[in-house]
Symmetry: C2
Subunit: 333 residues, 2 copies
């Protein structure tokens, strides 16, 4: 049987109130009483029932996390950052995905109403944004880990996409590339427009404005990156670099260039975005703009915990710096 606070109280010869105070408050308890109760707690191995504590206090000391998919290459890093931070604060992490339509969305919202968690971390909530906004308005603390949209109504953390795009341009210009192909992500995403703007402006400032025919919307997949580059080459387009808006598309570009008999980086330099764990293991190793995924997870988790502690966020919109990781796909050997 479970050891309860009543057991501890009885054996220690005090009231449940006193045991509760030993557990939860720093003062109001006589030193020797406190020591004695502590001893009994340890001896019995008593741990308060989280359900009962939650019911009495009206809080669960648990945060929820909603992700669109767990199999994206960088999701593990974000998750690890979140879990580490949340665990260290003594909170639990309840994980949800929303990849199966209304059914799972409904189940998720009912978990919210059920008070299963006190606050929510959401990654790139494209389809679920309206729902989240409703929950947020009803008082659920929410922090977005959001690399796609622009959501000033939520506290959120993103990477410095514009600066990342500019840095990619700076690097390509530095290695002498004047005619880059841009394999953009879906243009409805804020992050994509930011990366593009930063890149375009930097190229213009460098004295060679982009050729609009070489800015192509793609969909962040390896397959589409590969196919797009193949098609452009077959149409006779020329370019001396590829800036892909994510690493998967860059890997696709690598494959298409190889198939076409072009050398990377000699004929065409390739730079990606994300720095997924496999980026350095590609052939050639992929130069890329790094997003600090783990740190983004940690930061978002810290923000949510602060909110739950009743603190004001000094800055509800955190932008973490990106940086170019130079590897052989742009640098040669």
């Amino acid at each position: 049987m479970r050891v309860t606070i009543a057991d501890v109280a009885r054996i220690a010869g005090v009231s449940k109130t006193t045991v509760s105070r030993v557990l939860n408050t720093r003062d109001e308890v006589d030193h020797s009483t406190r020591a004695h109760v502590r001893e009994v707690i340890d001896r019995l191995g008593y741990v308060p029932s989280s359900g009962a504590v939650g019911l009495a206090r009206g809080t669960s000391r648990t945060v929820g996390m909603l992700v669109p998919s767990l199999t994206w290459p960088w999701m593990g890093e974000v998750l690890q950052g979140v879990v580490d931070t949340v665990e260290a604060a003594g909170f639990g992490l309840l994980l949800f995905t929303c990849n199966r339509g209304t059914d799972s969305v409904e189940r998720f919202t009912s978990q919210v109403s059920a008070g299963a968690f006190d606050g929510l971390l959401a990654v790139e909530p494209e389809d679920t944004l309206a729902m989240l906004a409703a929950l947020h308005r009803k008082g659920l603390p929410v922090v977005l880990i959001d690399d796609r949209g622009r959501h000033p109504e939520f506290p959120h953390v993103t990477a410095a996409n514009r600066e990342g795009g500019a840095a990619a341009a700076g690097h390509l210009l530095a290695v002498g590339r004047r005619r880059p192909l841009v394999l953009a992500g879906p243009l409805r995403f804020g992050c994509v427009r930011d990366r593009l703007d930063g890149f375009e402006d930097a190229y213009a400032a460098g004295g060679c404005p982009l050729d609009p025919a070489l800015v192509i919307e793609s969909d962040f997949t390896e397959a589409d990156g590969r196919e797009t580059v193949r098609r452009l080459l077959s149409e006779g387009r020329t370019f001396d670099a590829v800036f892909a808006h994510n690493d998967l598309a860059a890997v696709g570009a690598l494959a298409a260039l190889r198939t076409a008999g072009l050398r990377v980086p000699d004929d065409v330099a390739v730079i990606g975005f994300d720095d997924i764990p496999m980026a350095g293991l590609m052939y050639p190793p992929l130069t890329t703009v790094q997003q600090p995924m783990r740190e983004m997870g940690e930061t978002a988790a810290r923000m949510l915990l602060a909110l739950l502690a009743g603190e004001e966020l000094s800055d509800p919109s955190v932008v973490l710096p990106t940086s170019v990781v130079i590897r052989q796909s742009t640098a040669g050997v």
Copy 2:
């Protein structure tokens, strides 16, 4: 304010007992009463507090999952399988990692005592096995997703490692490789010994027993795979194939062979194990023995849910089939 069962009861003009029965039982309630209560529940948007239900019922309808790391290449697939299954059953998933020593282990065990979840899924619990065994003995339902050890004391799901090793051998023999290098994982892992046994036996049966000097213990990392192959080549060893016990090591082998000027698969064929998401995106695309990671997650989750439902497991030790995915690193173009 939260809508409670008392609100529903008052507005519907019935007792809390009746509302509870409408919520939880199929019978014992008059048809029209039931309909009326349902209507009030919907109108008010009432959702029972999971904490209160848990306290009253002594169960949390939540399962825990303990993983050593969230950033391993195949972990996302396992997690996705688990989350999908658990969510579909209306359970929550509480995620824990144990990468920060005794501190996090202690925090984890206290969550168990706190009754935060009803059952546990654990992935490759090398260091935490003793702790898990203790919890299991105390009555916590546990299912292992375990590709490393052999733990007959727990219900668990693994991949068919021995058969996978044999299949790798069969494939290499079929493409004419008679002198393979084996880049084994740490030999203390059961899965490693199984893969090795299957591979060795199949090669022996094929008429060419392995050269013991070409069976090397490695550590499942890309760096060690690369370094080991580099060293062997520099020592003048010859081999016409590499069987790596995981895909990361295989990717390392690919890099070392390339650096040495050897062609894959012409000079040396390479086959890995796992089929991580990036395997097909390598150059050349990596032939590998696929472990059904997502299915392993789903199966383990289903087993745990069955246990929680009070069912007996028809088979507490489930072995899921592996299969060779043939790509260019062994097959040429």
